[in-house]
Symmetry: C2
Subunit: 473 residues, 2 copies
């Protein structure tokens, strides 16, 4: 039958088929070996040739990202090498090559403000948030606006406008190596030179310890740490520089100036919809923000400040020039990308504020339910509030729990927790009593789960009757 | 003839040919549309699947790098957008969409120390120096050694050992946001607290102005700028902190401590084979280096210091924590890559020191020949010297020319040059006379060529007879 078919099909037909197939062979051969096949780049909206100089680095990044760390850690391209490959870096309490081993007797470390609760967000936005830098990227001291990226400035202003958390028009913008650098830069800039006495730097208890520590350490002749605002309420002194953290670190309440002087530094690190309702845009003459608590990139060391007064702005710029000649240009480049992603996704199902708010609200609710199940501890009182960003009344979702030990004998609350396997930041760090301690709710799920696990028996300890209730957490 | 051939070739042969061709087409078709073609990643030494989340960013980076700026500029992924595309950023004196237009009456700007002479090196090493970062890369405050990348530390020590420019064993290493940040951190750390009088910060004329400006601006209670070492040579004062820049900025001579006190900060920013012979490894108790003058990445804001004394190290670390919580982690990640490339290529034909040395030596020779062709100006005297790195006697290749105006009426040398269209950094910035000015030899070829072009008539001005000779440059 087959033989017959061959014989009956004219040679010409085979020749035509062969010729067509050969043409197709030639086309594929060219495609395979000679063509720089063109792909559409959605970000640029134009076609570019297949990858050349970026390929190896991109492959390496993907290979390292694909290393499995059991959801309890992650590997980085710059990690410590183990047999030539970066090894998994595990979350606290996890160990093993792939972070799959839970350490026994490991303390819950909720001491620091590491904003790792946003890490899963960026993993979900992998393609949008990848950053590729050439070896010759921004080698110069100067970028588009001296030490500052103009595009980053534009996009930061755009983001504040979209979120509605700050009025930035008519205010100068400076970039710092973290908001940390900006704190002292502003203290310097707000202190009059050669005044008869140094400016008094103050804050309201409980306050973020950095204000005190930094002011004392840099110890400039024109300023001095003068402690709590409470001490100065009825004084005749005038030359105050007051730090106002709103929402406050550690208790997450919205705050305003206590002394009402002219030199107020508003630290709005946490004034984003992850952490608080936004009742109205902030409009201070000096306002600090940080990417650490916006996108979660604490390691990038990048913060910014809006400054109304031109002289103050010039002094801060000068300080930043002589301190570090501005913030890293590749950091600015990377964060430009993230600030854009955050703005672009507002209101979408990849809204970072929605993501952060939901995560922190759930954590707060679970912690609150556990703590309220006995009388041993109490938490700061936070209430629902109308939020102009979400356009609704929303639950609290604080970055920190400000825990108080209520039992008479528990005079050092951080110590009590430490004995129970929880590393917290004791009240004295914030100028407050040892009866208080701060628990970070910002870290990974692993950290938070471990916190609940360790807190459960401590809460139960106060009241034998409540143990049944607690066992349900 | 053709018809005859078809008829004579048996149909079977065509069928076989067609079948083979068809098989080949099936193979190509699969390759083209279904295969996750595997590529070898030389950096990881393993195969990875084709790119997913890095692809768009890589394509964008390549597309932007491919924008033509006529060798007089470059476009960056974070550049100011022009119709949605980053625009060319042109070298001084060039303009136009593709930087192809030379501005008339444009001054040669050789004021700053922008190390752009190394930009072509990194363009040549495009594939090796590409860096890809994920959105979740190093979000934490903590990296492999708190604020410091362990791999970067290891590779910096390895590089110094390979170059032979510093003894690092037994010394602690700190990372700063540029060496700029480390200067004041070290002044702070070397100043005893609560001493009866503040430490005196000094340097030898001509000195890098940052030492004075920074010390005066930060104005800590425990230290004070006390000017030139010459003033204190025969004094009884003891509590000096002496900055020694070697090779020196601006005159590029190797230097040592003048006062010989115990607190010396060796600023070895330029102690690399690009700029100077390396007669022996430096071995100071406090030594500062910066990536700006090693790889040319000034915009990265990254420097480091080796510190022998543990107490000084602890104080510096403390300062850095309260100033900025360390240097940007993505910067550390990027620079790890570059430090590795530099080490790996030592002695190869991609040796950055060979590249930098050759470029600067040629520039120096051309400038020297021009300046020496008349008596109007003179340059610092630099001699050939044995270099342990190149293992030979080598010519000078300084980062800067320290130019002196020799004509009696040319009392302000920077002013003389400015009138001739050259922006330089006048002698008073370095504590020296206005008869001197500094010309940067570190910038792009465009900057250097413009400098020669503008200097030619000035040199000729002094001596009509020499004009013929000069026209040959």
């Amino acid at each position: 039958m087959k033989e017959q078919l061959i014989r009956e099909t004219p040679a010409k037909v085979y020749l035509v088929l062969f010729s067509l197939s050969l043409l197709l062979n030639i086309f594929f051969f060219y495609q395979q070996f000679f063509s720089q096949s063109h792909h559409l780049s959605p970000r640029l909206g134009s076609t570019v040739s297949d990858l050349s100089w970026t390929r190896h680095a991109a492959e390496e990044a993907e290979a390292v990202a694909a290393i499995s760390c059991s959801s309890h850690g992650r590997a980085y391209v710059d990690g410590v090498l183990d047999n030539g490959q970066p090894a998994c870096e595990c979350n606290t309490c996890y160990t093993g090559i792939d972070c799959s081993v839970l350490l026994s007797n490991c303390s819950a470390d909720v001491e620091g403000g590491d904003p790792l609760f946003l890490e899963p967000y960026w993993m979900q936005q992998a393609a949008k948030s990848a950053v590729v830098l050439s070896g010759w990227h921004r080698m110069s001291y100067a970028t588009t606006d001296r030490f500052k990226s103009l595009e980053l400035e534009k996009n930061i202003r755009r983001l504040h406008a979209a979120v509605g958390n700050a009025i930035t028009d008519g205010k100068h913008l400076v970039f710092g190596t973290g908001s940390t650098q900006l704190l002292n830069a502003l203290v310097y800039a707000l202190s009059p030179e050669n005044a008869s006495s140094p400016s008094s730097v103050v804050a309201t208890i409980p306050y973020y310890s950095m204000y005190k520590e930094q002011t004392e350490l840099f110890n400039g002749r024109d300023y001095e740490w003068e402690g709590a605002t409470a001490k100065w309420r009825n004084s005749n002194k005038t030359n105050f520089i007051e730090f106002v953290t709103s929402p406050n670190n550690p208790d997450c309440l919205l705050c305003d100036s206590v002394l009402g002087g002219s030199s107020v530094i508003y630290d709005h690190a946490y004034y984003w919809p992850h952490f608080t309702a936004i009742p109205k845009p902030a409009d201070g003459d000096v306002m600090i923000f940080t990417v650490s608590k916006l996108s979660g990139h604490a390691g990038s060391r990048f913060g910014w400040a809006f400054i109304k007064d031109e002289n103050v702005y010039n002094k801060v710029s000068n300080y930043l020039q002589y301190n570090s000649m501005g913030a890293s240009r590749e950091t600015q480049s990377r964060l430009l990308n993230y600030v854009k992603v955050i703005s672009d996704e507002i209101g979408s199902n990849a809204d970072i504020f929605e993501f952060g708010f939901n995560k922190l609200r759930k954590r707060w609710q679970r912690l609150q339910a556990l703590v309220n199940s006995s009388s041993r501890f109490s938490l700061q009182q936070l209430s629902t509030q109308y939020c102009t960003y979400f356009k609704k009344i929303r639950d609290p979702s604080p970055a920190y729990a400000w825990l108080k030990c209520e039992n008479e004998e528990d005079t050092d609350c951080a110590e009590v927790l430490m004995k129970g396997g929880i590393i917290s930041r004791g009240g004295t760090n914030f100028g407050a009593s040892t009866r208080y301690t701060r628990l970070s709710l910002l870290k990974t799920d692993d950290h938070f789960e471990m916190l609940l696990q360790k807190l459960k028996p401590l809460v139960a300890c106060s009241d034998e009757n409540s143990s049944e209730m607690i066992s349900s957490f």
